[in-house]
């Protein structure tokens, strides 16, 4: 247990010390929320106020930026620079390391979600969530599932130099197609077809159902199931392909 706490503290120190990472994964979703909210926060999207609609989308963008993209890039850079190999030589148990990394990711995302909700309230008058328990569960599910997918993704990224390119090429279009920034209802048919298989689409839909329509998480087993299934794919990929050592050239 003390191993886990030590690693959690270490990961927090590393995250906030790396300003680039903290900006792209923590701050950028907040910046986008403020910008987009200022542009069309007062419009009506699918019958609700734009800023309320956006909050759910940006919670989705935040989860892929933090738990998926940020985690994948961090782990690839650590693997390729030999840090993971170095850690393997210490008595730190694997479960404590993974637990510390995951815990730190969840903590960062929790802070981000709180910041988004509070900013929405202060800047755009978005009401505070009425189904708080369900919202927390949904966000937790999404963070764990996308973190698993992020760890799984490291198996197919070959170099530290390429990690940002590959990860950005996946998560940015996914955020767009899944409707993080706009309503996907206006999208052409082929984009919506792609969106229909992406996990982020279902995570955002679940979050909107809870935030906008007052549903509880258990009333939406379909969305929960798809997100969890993608998370399971991530876990399998991570178990099969996660490496501690750099890929030697």
């Amino acid at each position: 247990m003390s191993d886990l706490l030590h690693e959690l503290r270490t990961e927090q120190l590393l995250f906030w010390r790396s300003r680039e990472l903290a900006f792209f994964t923590f701050l950028l979703p907040i910046v986008f929320f403020v910008l987009l909210g200022s542009v069309y926060g007062t419009d009506r999207i699918e019958g609700v106020k734009g800023s309320r609609y956006l909050l759910a989308g940006l919670l989705g963008y935040g989860v892929v930026a933090t738990a998926f993209a940020g985690l994948a890039i961090t782990l690839v850079v650590r693997r390729e620079s030999g840090i993971l190999k170095r850690l393997r030589a210490t008595p730190l148990p694997v479960w404590a390391y993974i637990g510390g990394v995951l815990g730190s990711t969840l903590l960062v995302y929790a802070l981000e979600a709180i910041a988004l909700v509070v900013l929405g309230r202060l800047l755009f008058g978005v009401p505070l969530p009425s189904r708080l328990g369900s919202l927390v569960l949904a966000l937790l599910l999404g963070a764990v599932a996308f973190a698993a997918m992020g760890i799984g993704l490291t198996a197919v990224v070959r170099s530290a130099e390429g990690s940002s390119a590959v990860v950005n090429a996946i998560y940015l279009p996914m955020a767009f197609i899944s409707g993080s920034f706009f309503s996907p209802h206006a999208f052409p048919q082929f984009l919506r077809a792609i969106g229909d298989v992406l996990p982020l689409t279902y995570f955002i839909r679940l979050t909107r159902d809870i935030l906008l329509h007052g549903h509880e998480i258990w009333e939406r087993p379909g969305s929960v199931g798809v997100v969890a299934a993608w998370g399971a794919v991530g876990v399998l990929a991570a178990l099969r392909g996660f490496r501690w050592e750099p890929r030697e050239g």
């Binding site: 191993d3 030590h6 030999g82 840090i83």
Partner: protein
């Protein structure tokens, strides 16, 4: 009991036989040097002993355990300095040492270890501002922080300038004084000679010579007598230089000729090493 025991160790990467039957033992408190050119199998050997790689054949015991199946308790007792320094660029020297200290149940004092590797004045410097030599010293500090019994040093001074190498040698000597067992790989002959109690010379996956540095250059090596006759260079290798030289000079005197360029010498360590390792020089 030996700290490290290796018997008939074999390892192939696809068709390439990296290790073709390597055997040696390291006693507790001994500094053992694994010397050889690049590609001889040094890193493969040390990484099998560290538990990073699986062996194909052979028996390996490190501190009484098979490194391939070792647990956290075993890792408490070993310290590893890999060939390349792997660190977090944004953390300071002090933060690194404290982070790694947290991974061990009985670490040494962080400030003391930083002092030992000579980084006390860089305690608050971020790693990205350190020179290559300073990073290497921090690497050594991270290898020592858990207060290990056995330390693996994979090419600890490669890329150092002469002054930094001397400083690193002093540090490695101090490990011996602490009673640590050390396995050191290097492709520098003088490094192996200066630091090791015993040296094994590795060539193409086999040990071609093993012993105390003085033994490797000792009695078994022939003395060479060089001279020119009729403009042609002659080299006589002998274990009885006194007698051979006496005969040679006697004949020359009797014939009234001069032995041009007469020279009697023992081969240097460098020459012995090159002949053992097939002439590949670093």
């Amino acid at each position: 009991m030996a700290a490290v025991s290796v018997r008939d160790l074999r390892k192939s990467y696809g068709p390439v036989e990296a290790l073709r039957g390597v055997s040696f033992e390291i006693e507790q408190g001994e500094v053992f040097g694994l010397l050889g050119p690049n590609g001889a199998g040094k890193t493969t050997t040390i990484e099998i002993l560290e538990g990073y790689r699986a062996r194909d054949e052979g028996a390996v015991e490190v501190l009484g355990a098979d490194p391939g199946a070792a647990d956290g308790g075993w890792r408490e007792r070993i310290g590893i300095v890999l060939q390349s320094s792997a660190m977090y660029p944004n953390l300071t020297v002090g933060e690194h040492v404290r982070v790694f200290a947290g991974y061990y149940s009985h670490p040494r004092d962080a400030a003391e270890v930083i002092e030992l590797v000579g980084l006390a004045d860089k305690r608050n410097a971020k790693v990205k501002t350190l020179s290559g030599g300073q990073k290497r010293r921090l690497d050594l500090a991270l290898g020592l922080i858990g207060d290990p019994e056995l330390i693996f040093l994979d090419e600890p001074t490669t890329g150092f300038d002469p002054q930094a190498r001397r400083a690193a040698w002093e540090m490695i000597r101090s490990l011996r004084e602490l009673g640590k067992t050390v396995l050191l790989t290097t492709h520098y002959l003088d490094e192996a000679e200066q630091l090791s109690d015993r040296v094994a010379v590795l060539r193409e996956g086999r040990i071609v010579a093993m012993g105390r540095p003085a033994e490797l250059t000792g009695a078994k090596v022939a003395t060479e007598i060089h001279y020119r006759r009729n403009g042609e260079q002659v080299v006589v290798a002998t274990h009885e230089p006194t007698r051979v030289l006496h005969e040679l000079t006697g004949e020359a005197l009797a014939a009234g000729v001069e032995l041009e360029g007469l020279e009697v010498r023992r081969p240097t360590l460098e020459e012995i090493y090159l002949s053992l390792t097939g002439g590949e020089s670093e």
